[in-house]
């Protein structure tokens, strides 16, 4: 077998000469510098952005006069029933618990899960509800999250016993809450999410406030 008479092979191993390898190494190095440099120079700012956003969201579901701590730094991760641990932010005044903000994921939105923040006072009453993430249909189901959140204020003041458990439903399902016209599925999922938060808070109140703050959740 004379190599000179063969057909040209598909892959010529000799092509990987030192020049080629050096060029490839330069390209690799460039890529590493680009990614590493931009990550290094932006990560603090990205973390600050995320923290600022959480503070802003918490202030939408908790009256600011209620607490004097930083709930975004007083955080525990709890599985409220969705199968994944989600943050609970605790609000205290002079060290004693006054309210908590629960993150819940309502699994049965029209398109996907709906992520909610539910502010609940120590006595179990809802202080405010905010939808932080959803994929509902624009113009239809997305109405649950429109500004101003008129529909969501319907939950304010409610608790585990008001209305009684059987009536924590849409009116069409025999409950006490109106659905947004045309957005029954999204409304139903939202009511279920708030109900989950209220129920979890009522049954785990002491555990929520006594668990030490977990640094992993504070980020």
């Amino acid at each position: 077998m004379n190599s000179g008479s063969r057909e040209e092979p598909l892959i010529r191993h000799r092509a990987a000469g030192p020049r080629n390898l050096a060029a490839l190494a330069v390209v690799l190095l460039l890529a590493v510098i680009l990614i590493g440099g931009s990550w290094q120079s932006t990560r603090q700012r990205i973390a600050d952005n995320a923290a600022r956003q959480i503070v802003a969201q918490i202030s939408l579901v908790l009256p600011g006069t209620l607490y004097d701590n930083e709930p975004n730094k007083d955080t525990v991760l709890k599985d409220t029933g969705g199968g994944q641990p989600l943050p609970i932010y605790r609000a205290r005044r002079n060290g004693s618990p006054v309210a908590a903000v629960l993150t819940v994921s309502a699994p049965d939105g029209y398109v996907g899960p709906i992520r909610l923040l539910v502010g609940i006072a120590a006595d179990g009453r809802v202080l405010g509800v905010l939808i932080t993430a959803h994929q509902e249909t624009p113009g239809i189901g997305a109405a649950i999250a429109t500004e101003p959140p008129t529909w969501l204020t319907g939950f304010t003041g409610r608790s585990l016993t008001d209305p009684p458990a059987a009536r924590w439903n849409l009116r069409t399902d025999g409950g006490d809450f109106d659905a947004i016209a045309g957005a029954t599925v999204s409304s139903r999922a939202t009511v279920a999410g708030v109900s989950t938060a209220v129920h979890y808070f009522a049954t785990h109140r002491d555990e929520i406030f006594s668990t030490p703050s977990s640094p992993a959740a504070t980020r």
Binding site: A15, R19, N20, A22, A23, L24, V26, V27, L28, L30, A31, V32, L34, I35, G37, S38, W39, T42, R43, R45, I46, N49, Q53, T137, P138, G139, I140
Partner: protein, 193 residues
Amino acid sequence: MTPDNTTDSSAGRLLLAGLGWNTPGLAALIGLCPLLAVSTSFAAGLALGLASLAVLCSSNMLISALAPWITPRFRLPAFLLLIGALVTAVDLLFEARWFDLYGQVGLFVPLIVTNCLILARGESFAAHHGVWSAFLDGLGYGLGFTALLAGLGALREALAPGLLVAALPAGAFFLLAALVALRQLVVRRRGSA
């Protein structure tokens, strides 16, 4: 094989190649994924368009500068590696600087890697031209893509309150089809593409 052999073509011509009615998004329907998903509003379309523009300009320049040392055998992995690194950098900068907007379109920024327009310009133009020409080429095609994204976004944003379908992905298809039809009309009137 690379010295700048386009000194004859003016900067203006290079810029205009990718702009106007021949912008690949309209002429060849390239880069459809972000086009349809993100163009729900003017701001979102503009943001993703500008992110793509930044990647296209910088990848064109890098590829043009490195091309003399890169043999054809591994130009694809080399170019893709560069484009991927640039997209990652733009993604991080975007998240750091424009956090609110990133919340809307952030999911689609990494997908810029898959926009074949970027690799196509690198392969077919930047690798055989000087850095300055490559920059102008990237700027032209990037601006054309940005204009299309932002324009489609503005159109959908304006129509959505009265015409629900405009807010849905299907609406993006309809409006894009209308724009393509309009382009064909204009191009035919002129007699040539």
